[in-house]
């Protein structure tokens, strides 16, 4: 990694909470896209690979600063990225 930038990733629901991965600081390059964050997350914590793939494919909602974003969007260093898989009735 060529930068000291990082973002925080949280899962909702906390699917990796039992592994101690509730709130994860992820090192990222400068001006990262969400897809960069996801790849950094997977490199640092390979056990999150399934969720990362789900997020890439659109099966998880990605929320930054109270806004739903696509994996192609850029995120500011220090931001918190939520990866969300909500549950509702049907």
């Amino acid at each position: 990694m060529t930068s000291d930038a990082s973002v925080t990733v949280r899962f909702f629901p906390p699917i990796y909470g039992a592994l101690g991965l509730s709130e994860i600081a992820v090192p990222v390059p400068s001006n990262p896209k969400i897809s960069d964050v996801l790849e950094s997350l997977k490199r640092a914590y390979p056990e999150t690979g399934a969720a990362v793939q789900g997020a890439h494919e659109g099966w998880l909602m990605v929320v930054v600063d109270g806004r739903s974003v696509s994996v192609d969007e850029t995120v500011a260093s220090g931001s918190r990225v939520w990866l969300v898989n909500p549950a509702v009735g049907g």
């Binding site: 909702f12 629901p13 659109g58 109270g66 898989n85 549950a87 509702v88 009735g89 049907g90």
Partner: protein
């Protein structure tokens, strides 16, 4: 002689009062908007007949109720940030009534916002005009009572079982009518449904009696009264005692 009709023809089952009301509203001249619960995916042809028939009846828009989810999820996250604590949610009016009646001390732990049905109806009316009529179609007759609790949102609630007699004989419809939903929701909404954290009324009671035991502070559990979730709701056409879909 078969009845000659330009709109949907009747099936064998007698129409309910609300199904007849749907037919009357369709002739009212007001913009008709449909909000379809996600269980439609378990109807034949994944609900294509439903969508096409609603269009043939003159509906101006046919959308998925889960279109309300992005806004709802963001509100949930903001609530968790502001006040991290164990919470439970329920889009099920039976569970909401259960909490209000038998577990009143847990009301503060229940998600405070209306269900996706009500939020989506409000969204539809904000986009298409307050004079439009919103019809929610889903697997649950209890939604009728919920709609009355939020006046000005959903104008009519019908179950899939109630509307199916209207649709059986119009399979196909005008060939040029699209079978896709309007304003399709994000892909992830398809995975959001049917994953009931707790389902079945007895299980819900047990969960509520023990709450917050076993629930993490940043966990939100969805409660549904029907065993296995809304897919097994009494308003699905293939439930025991009802005619099977053909």
């Amino acid at each position: 002689m078969p009845e000659k009709a330009s709109g949907p023809k009747m099936g064998r089952e007698p129409l309910t009062k609300d199904a007849r009301r749907l037919l009357a509203l369709a002739k009212s001249g007001r913009a008709m908007l449909a909000s379809i619960a996600p269980s439609y995916r378990h109807l034949p042809e994944r609900g294509a007949v439903l969508v096409k028939t609603l269009r043939s009846m003159g509906f101006a828009a046919v959308e998925e109720t889960v279109g309300a989810l992005p806004k709802l999820v963001i509100m949930r996250l903001q609530e968790m940030d502001a006040d991290p604590r164990p919470m439970f949610t329920s889009s099920c009016p039976v569970v909401v009534d259960l909490v209000r009646k038998d577990f009143r001390d847990l009301e503060a732990a229940m998600e405070p916002w209306p269900s996706p049905m009500v939020l989506h109806a409000r969204s539809l009316k904000s986009r298409y005009g307050g004079d439009s009529l919103v019809v929610f179609i889903g697997p649950c007759p209890a939604k009728k009572k919920e709609a009355r609790r939020f006046p000005g949102s959903v104008d009519l609630v019908l179950t899939f079982a109630e509307v199916w007699p209207l649709f059986r004989d119009v399979r196909g419809g005008p060939a040029e009518l699209p079978v896709e939903f309007d304003n399709p929701p994000p892909r992830w909404t398809a995975g959001a449904v049917f994953r009931a954290g707790v389902s079945g009324l007895d299980e819900c009671r047990r969960f509520l009696a023990a709450f917050p035991s076993g629930v993490d502070r940043d966990e939100v559990v969805e409660l549904l009264a029907c065993v296995g979730g809304c897919l097994n709701g009494p308003g699905m056409p293939n439930q025991p005692g009802r005619g099977r879909l053909s």
